[in-house]
Symmetry: C2
Subunit: 99 residues, 2 copies
């Protein structure tokens, strides 16, 4: 992982709102409207945060049909681990590309 990719991922979690989203989804997938209620946040804003988390690979969402036939967009946390220390920063900077 190069420096740009790494900083992108770090920026994606470096937000109290987004960390709270991860904490709420952890172990309990929720659909957008329900999550918006629990976060006490507008859906539009929540979508913005969810997009950043999804782009960075921390969460994933998919449409699903509820029991009564309504479409729900369920989001869940993807497993991830990032060990940040000086050596891995040096390593990221020295990477020109590659995943």
């Amino acid at each position: 992982m190069n420096a740009v990719e790494l900083s992108g991922k770090l920026a994606a979690i470096a937000s109290p709102h987004r960390m709270r989203i991860i904490a709420m989804l952890q172990g309990e997938p929720l659909h957008v409207s329900e999550l918006a209620r629990r976060m006490e946040m507008s859906r539009a804003l929540l979508y913005m945060h969810l997009s950043k988390l999804e782009d960075a690979g921390f969460v994933t969402g998919h449409l699903e049909l509820s029991d009564d036939g309504k479409a729900l967009k369920l989001f869940e946390v993807l497993p991830f681990v990032l060990n940040i220390d000086p050596a891995m920063i040096v390593n990221a900077i020295s990477q020109q590309e590659s995943e």
Copy 2:
């Protein structure tokens, strides 16, 4: 470490410029002007980035006298480790305060 502190630290490293600063200082403390030359960056801008890194506890700087008596502000990397995964995010969110 609570969510606000953690997001502050993550935001501080979530920048290619600042990651590069850490990489350059790692193992070789440098004074501001010299680092500015190697980074090809203005001192004013470098100070802004260094302040963020110092506030977050990733680097530290102190004045020191060179051999010919001039004052130099030497910066060096402080050891740090951050293991980021869903569980530690949940933990950070559940912390109300404490260091």
